[in-house]
């Protein structure tokens, strides 16, 4: 019997239904293409998905907050019409061992007052630091919105792009240029020490420099990642940190809604085994079940390991690309522990200071809770994991989505999302299968120091190690950004020199995932820029 699907024909097929794949598909369909999205799992969204893992409790299983979703994507794809609602996530609570805490929120003066309990100088410097980061974000924002020009190319488009880029940076005021160089070269701890001296503040701020990298706050190069915290602030009223209604799966659903309304077809449970290449040109895909589907354009939203080494035969690719891709650094460094809770967690620090003019527990629990009492604490957590282990006392970034979005858990009950760093992908002793629960225990034990009632209220615990992240959603070595966001892997080097323009050496085969410029996080920017590149090539 002939396979009817063989005769199916699309203008474009996007491999992977993560947020970037969906963004690419929506832009291509909006331009009039007939587009098919193939997702291997039973849910959409890749790392940006919401699942009811335990009855009544919905988890943003992998990613948990949204920082950088590009406002132009929200506008151009009309995402609010398709259900997107990003709720403010304004506060950060840093509980300290001993019962004290540092609390920061949108109330500028209260934040200043809180910081001055630890250091009056830091309170004073806080605004200067924010302003500096505003200038840095403004300087760097330009490169996030462009397709990276290749500095080694003589192509007039690349040269023009490089000229504009050079002019942009040379036009920066001198002091900003100096700070930018520092930001690119320093460790986040050293960079922060230029302004601050108090541990809870530096610890918490430095943590945003290490997320998704297997580096400590004292490792050079981590300062640059701090900037990602501030990118949202220069888009008018767009918030830098937010929580998506319905969890991060809500974002994928909204993008999928926009894509479908433009005619995109999305198929779940459809893993692709290879991209069919004929005469150096991609002509279709073969599904794992053997079916083949033809298309003029194939776009992979997967990471370079999959895109270049698994989906196509590396032998047809240039050696330098294969070698770059093989050396591309993933090094998953984080895990995720999702907890279903029978009641609200009781933070010992909020009990101790309730009523003295500091945040009521309600408002503090609606924001982020960061277990990052000092730079040393995080650096020590890194030391513990550095040689193939996980941290016994890890850095944990917690949010309680049900506090903001009651639909995430049954009434009065809560879901708690814990992003945990560090956990090495390759363990020195044992396997993750054997040590998964020990890792979960370390996280819960750490949390219990700040939330004594935690063990009593956990009704379900989901522990995701870097290995689990790789196995479930295909992120190589469990790296949440599809490869470290280090300077050596950004801009025209992401994912490999000469291939930062979303194309591949195979005609008609493109990349659109977080492994392309400008990188990971739920920004959608790689997906959009890839679509723009493809549409330009088709013209």
């Amino acid at each position: 019997m002939p396979d009817l699907r063989l005769y199916e024909n699309y203008d474009a097929i996007v491999i992977g239904g993560g947020h970037n794949g969906l963004v690419t598909s929506a832009y291509l369909a909006k331009a009039g293409l007939k587009v098919l999205v193939l997702e291997q799992r039973h849910v959409l969204g890749g790392a940006s998905s919401t699942e009811e893992i335990f009855p009544g409790y919905k988890f943003s299983v992998f990613s948990y907050v949204v920082s950088l979703l590009r406002p132009e994507i929200i506008r151009e794809l009309d995402l609010p019409k398709h259900g997107l609602a990003i709720l403010p996530l304004e506060s950060t609570l840093t509980p300290l061992p001993g019962g004290d805490f540092l609390y920061r929120d949108a109330d500028h003066y209260r934040t200043i007052q809180e910081i001055s309990r630890f250091s009056p100088r830091d309170a004073d410097a806080y605004e200067d630091y924010s302003r500096t980061m505003y200038f840095m974000a403004k300087a760097v924002k330009y490169i996030l919105g462009i397709q990276p020009p290749d500095p080694t190319s003589l192509n007039p488009n690349d040269l023009a792009g490089l000229y504009r880029l050079a002019r942009h940076f040379l036009n920066l005021p001198e002091d900003q240029l100096h700070t930018l160089v520092r930001l690119m070269t320093m460790s986040s701890a050293d960079f922060l020490e230029r302004w601050f001296e108090s541990e809870p503040l530096m610890g918490t701020l430095s943590a945003s420099g290490i997320i998704g990298t297997f580096l400590g706050p004292r490792s050079p190069g981590t300062a640059y990642v701090l900037l990602h915290h501030y990118m949202g602030e220069i888009d008018g009223n767009f918030r830098s940190w937010g929580y998506a209604k319905g969890g991060t799966g809500g974002i994928s659903q909204a993008i999928a809604g926009a894509a479908r309304s433009s005619g995109v077809e999305i198929r779940l449970n459809s893993p692709v085994s290879e991209v069919v290449v004929k005469n150096g040109r991609a002509v279709g895909v073969a599904l794992r079940d053997g079916k083949e589907i033809a298309a003029k354009v194939i776009v992979s939203s997967l990471d370079p390991n999959q895109t270049f080494l698994k989906l196509v035969d590396p032998n047809i690719l240039p050696v330098d690309l294969v070698s770059s891709v093989r050396k591309y650094v993933y090094r998953g460094s984080s895990g995720k522990v999702n907890l279903a809770l029978d009641a609200a967690p009781n933070l010992v620090c909020l009990d101790m200071r309730s009523g003295d003019g500091v945040p009521q527990s309600k408002t503090a629990l609606r924001g982020a809770i960061s277990i990052s009492p000092s730079v040393d604490y995080i650096e020590r957590a890194y030391d513990q994991a550095k040689y193939g282990d996980f941290s016994q006392r890890p850095y944990i970034d917690i949010i309680i989505p049900s506090m903001i979005d009651p639909g995430m858990a049954p009434p009065g009950k809560h879901v708690m999302s814990c992003f945990v760093q560090y956990a090495a992908y390759s363990l020195e002793k044992g396997s993750w299968e054997q040590r998964r629960e020990a890792f979960g225990d370390a996280v819960v034990d750490t949390l219990c120091e700040y939330i004594p009632n935690l063990k009593d209220i956990i009704v379900y615990r989901q522990v995701l190690t870097p290995y689990d992240i790789e196995q479930s959603i295909g992120l190589t070595e469990g790296n949440i950004f599809q490869g470290e966001l280090s300077l050596s892997q950004l801009f025209f080097l992401r994912p490999a020199p000469g291939y930062a323009n979303y194309r591949t050496p195979v005609k008609g085969y493109y990349q659109c995932g977080s492994a392309t410029h400008p990188g990971g996080g739920i920004s959608g920017a790689p997906g959009r820029l890839a679509a723009l590149r493809i549409l330009k090539d088709l013209r």
């Binding site: 003066y109 004073d124 003019g357």
Partner: protein, 402 residues
């Protein structure tokens, strides 16, 4: 969640309007009564009590205190004698103003600085290599302004042991409440300073005494027409006096997002505070250069021609209506049909019966005495009213210094 000041238990029940604003994170009454006019006239006609505790206050101590202050401030602090107060701005290396405030010499090697913005890091870092300490004493001091023609009589009753007639303009003295010494007497500092351009004083005390001092003043003041006054009345008074307000009339160079938002002392009418002869201070070289080259902006007053204003309104069949409160909405100023600057603060002056504004204008396109036009909106339509460039000091009664 704004912070209550040390006077809050007294000001809150008096605030019938329930209209508050935040000032450096503190709660400040916008006005106590439902309209501000009686509070304004208390400042100009009797005496007003204004809670100014939210000011940032720093204490500078040590053998090198004066060297530190002279390094930071544009005026020559070496000439600030014990018991003297000086108004001064301070600048960055490019001669652009960071903030302005007062420096008071409390005793030898001990000064108090007031500021509108936090400046601890700036002052401390400027002290590197000097034997001087800077401490933030903002929350250690409650501050109360007693402003208006009757302020001296009221304070004479509060501080009977102090010779207030001898306390000259911009001088301070340490004083004690009560006629005789008793352990219950309250020590405070009284300075003949203020933000109203009128006869007035400011009292500086420990927060624990704030309520007692307020109560005593209100009791004495009842016979002198004293009223608590809020920010709305104060804002009108300070515009009449031509006194600058940070974030309104200028932007701190530390906060400016683009270079054009910064101002030098020359550009804000504070050239007289830039002591280029005193030796090095931060920004001196840039200011010497600016003086040689000329400034881009000048700070002036603008008096709107009432007849012109009236005819614009009568064209719409309306009587002239101007906002009673001071406005911070920037208004374009034109000359020869070209915008030459903007008014940053403007208000109807109840005492002068004029519509007045503080403005930054391109130098030297417009000089005091020149005619200009200012944008006025009548029934949603923008017009230009005739106006005159004046000195920013619209109101300056003799009693202020007498």
């Amino acid at each position: 969640m704004p912070i209550p000041t040390p006077f809050h238990s007294r000001t809150a029940p008096l605030c019938e309007s329930n209209e508050w604003r935040t000032w450096s994170g503190y709660l400040a009454a916008s006005l106590y009564q439902v309209t501000h006019e009686t509070e304004y006239y208390a400042i100009r006609n009797s005496v007003a009590l204004i809670d100014v505790s939210p000011l940032y206050k720093y204490e500078v101590r040590g053998p090198d205190a004066v060297r530190l202050l002279n390094r930071v401030m544009t005026r020559d602090i070496a000439r600030c004698a014990v018991g003297q107060v000086m108004y001064t701005p301070w600048c960055d290396d490019e001669g652009k103003i960071i903030d302005d405030g007062t420096v008071a010499c409390l005793e030898n090697d001990r000064y108090r600085v007031t500021a509108a913005d936090p400046n601890l890091v700036w002052f401390q870092d400027s002290a590197i290599g000097l034997d001087a300490e800077v401490a933030d004493v903002s929350s250690d001091l409650a501050a109360l302004a007693v402003q208006g023609p009757n302020s001296r009589q009221v304070l004479k009753r509060l501080l009977p042991k102090t010779d207030l007639d001898a306390l000259r303009y911009y001088r301070l003295t340490h004083a004690q409440t009560g006629a005789r010494s008793s352990p219950r007497n309250i020590n405070l500092t009284v300075s003949r300073t203020g933000y109203t351009g009128d006869l007035g004083y400011e009292l500086w005390m420990e927060p624990k005494h704030a309520e007692a001092v307020w109560d005593m003043l209100m009791e004495i003041g009842a016979k002198y027409g004293m009223l608590p006054a809020g920010m709305v009345a104060l804002d009108i008074a300070r515009i009449e006096a031509g006194l600058l307000l940070i974030d309104v009339d200028y932007i701190s160079s530390r906060k400016a997002l683009i270079p054009d938002q910064k101002s030098s002392p020359f550009e804000l009418g504070l050239g007289w505070t830039a002591d280029l002869e005193k030796g090095y201070f931060i920004g001196r070289d840039a200011l010497i250069e600016e003086k040689r080259r000329g400034s881009k902006w000048q700070f002036t007053g603008i008096e709107v021609d009432w007849n012109s204003l009236e005819s614009l309104f009568s064209a719409a069949d309306l009587p002239p209506t101007v906002a009673g409160r001071a406005s911070r909405l920037s208004l374009p100023v034109y000359k020869y049909n070209r915008q030459i600057g903007y008014a940053s603060s403007h208000t109807f002056s109840p005492i002068l019966k004029k519509y007045i504004a503080l403005a930054s204008l391109n130098y030297p396109l417009a000089m005091p005495g020149d005619n200009v036009e200012i944008e006025i909106t009548v029934e949603h339509v923008r017009h230009r009213a005739k106006a005159l460039i004046t000195s920013p000091q619209f109101y300056n009664p003799i009693r202020k210094r007498a």
